[in-house]
Symmetry: C2
Subunit: 363 residues, 2 copies
């Protein structure tokens, strides 16, 4: 058995920019423990969070930072107590890599809501160390087996990568907040990386799915993805015919600019749920109890999803042969700058996956 | 059988004021139909809505207006098709007196969320007429039998009146949003007219109940009402020990002045529900998806409760011998000015009921 590595090589951002510089260098991995898995990375999807982080939109982060949290690769080493992953297995890592495992939330499969020790895939200090977690624009990643997900054979690497964050982010609120109800009418607001998974998964779960977008530009795409209906919010009177009819709307929009929240809320059936998964950079929206009382709508947000939901989602994707729309980009400084620049202006249909890791880091 | 009356006598407000003038005069009743019940009023609780309305806090209303929507009296006439109420029966009327009865919401016992034809007890034009609905500071009220609720024998008239709006307003979100869960931890924010019912009913439903108030002034009252615990939000660090532990908090506060919403939301367990039933006059609060994501809390509001919930609540109150804290005031211009003035400054523990109707209107 080879000695356990202490570092890996990857692309770090030192200072936010649009796009920032990506600096190839070595950085420390967390110390390996008995439950850790080392993964040689083969692909990484590009998430809106990466853009918010490296362009400075979410403010101060733990720079220098290697971002990327939609990771697919091979397990190349497992700790002596690992039982969930085998060496050689193709696996994924999403946007979180650790939680305490002991609190009420963790024990109830709400580990992505752990209040005790929640470690993000990048940017979180590993407790008791000076090491900040680093993401998937790198040769290797190491983390606890619980946060490493075996990937069904039939799902192609570049296509499955974005499911690890974008997919799960919308899958979890769909199954938790109403899409499984018989005859559920589900809306997906914001047809981007997350939203396109919203249409795919809501349809696969059996719901009646409506895509909701500012204009009809993406209508053909939405219908090709499986939407049963389409609403364009720049059209006069778009909301009235659907008043009080939706069981669930997952709001995947990444901005609240010109966002008529009251019109959206009017769409909800009694106690229907308006769940946001985008985290806009803007200051927020004003809500009055009066605006929520006429249909008793519930407003919420959702954070990733549990391990069980991840495994269920991957199985659903395999069983239903779900095909995300993914554009592959060669990893490297050029590719990273391109994806950040294009994502910042929404120029992708509907997700980038960085591939060609062997070209950069060798076999 | 006497001829069917077309008018009744009561106290109307013409212009908002603090307090306004209450003018005794006759006004029209809706035309009687086959399903209507005429009630000779004996008592009427005084709701925060009455104060918001007659002092102008909620803006333009349909003045002149006779307010009051926690009405108890005797059925003195029933239409030929009425089956739910008998002449001579003691009955109540709450804050709503009609809905379409035909829409999805009405058919699913969400009639207080009817989007088609929701008639409030006072201030709503009866469709197809020039008659605006008038409330309980009057000798008689007439409405559809569905909105007339037989009252269990054991509940005293003055004590039960405030249940018709305040009681139901907090009972419905308790049973809909989590108080029935085994071991539920429920918070009641704002220990006023509605909040005191919140403590009484949450306890009667079996929950662990925490009263949450600005200071400890009302702690003894809250514990006497049945609260298991008490949190004072003016104390440093009040929220931290309860982080992520509440299943449901019903926010009964009537103002958002100095209201630290983020601290309240931090109390909620994963997908716990923060349900507002107060309708403050202020402009609202800013909410960001980020504030809701760490525990997936759901924010909502609630509007009254269904007929079934009303009957269940009255039965629970009778079965558990629930005793609201009510101060009786003689109906009349003096009494009305007094209750509005005292309610405006929160000087009541915890609800007024106007009584002595016979003194004013005769037997």
């Amino acid at each position: 058995m080879p000695s356990i590595p202490t570092e890996t090589e990857g692309f770090q951002v030192d200072t936010p920019g649009v796009p920032p510089d990506f600096n190839r260098r070595s950085f420390k991995l967390k110390a390996a423990d008995d439950y850790d898995v080392d993964i040689k990375i083969e692909a990484c999807g590009v998430c809106g969070s990466d853009v918010h982080t490296v362009t400075g939109g979410w403010g101060k982060q733990n720079f220098p930072l290697c971002v990327g949290h939609e990771i697919v690769g091979r397990a190349v080493r497992v700790g002596p107590k690992v039982t969930l992953v085998k060496v050689g297995q193709r696996v994924g890592v999403g946007a979180q890599v650790y939680s305490c495992g002991e609190c009420k939330q963790c024990k109830e499969e709400n580990e992505t809501y752990c209040q005790v020790n929640l470690i993000n895939t990048y940017g979180s200090p590993w407790p008791g160390t000076d090491i900040v977690s680093q993401g998937g624009h790198a040769a290797y990643i190491r983390t606890n087996e619980y946060w490493v997900f075996p990937i069904p054979e039939s799902l192609p690497t570049a296509a499955v990568a974005p499911m690890l964050c974008a997919g799960l982010t919308v899958y979890s609120p769909l199954v938790r907040h109403g899409a499984l109800k018989k005859g559920a009418k589900v809306g997906i607001v914001g047809i981007g990386g997350i939203g396109h998974f919203g249409i795919l998964f809501a349809k696969a779960l059996g719901a009646e799915v409506w895509a909701i977008s500012r204009s009809r530009t993406k209508e053909a795409d939405a219908r090709a993805l499986g939407a049963d209906g389409f609403l364009a919010t720049n059209e006069e009177g778009w909301a009235a015919p659907h008043r009080c009819t939706f069981d669930l709307i997952v709001n995947c929009a990444n901005s609240i600019d010109n966002f008529d929240l009251a019109a959206y809320l009017s769409l909800m059936d009694v106690h229907g749920r308006w769940i946001s998964v985008g985290m806009p950079e803007e200051a927020g929206q004003t809500v009055r109890a009066q605006d929520l009382a006429s249909n008793g709508v519930l407003i919420g947000a959702s954070h990733l999803g549990s391990r069980r939901e991840m495994l269920d989602m991957l199985k659903l994707a395999a069983d239903k042969n779900i095909k995300p729309w993914v554009e592959e980009i060669q990893l490297g400084e050029t590719g990273l700058k391109e994806v950040i620049t294009r994502l910042k202006k929404g120029d992708v249909r509907y997700r980038f996956t960085l591939t060609g890791y062997d070209e950069v880091f060798g076999q």
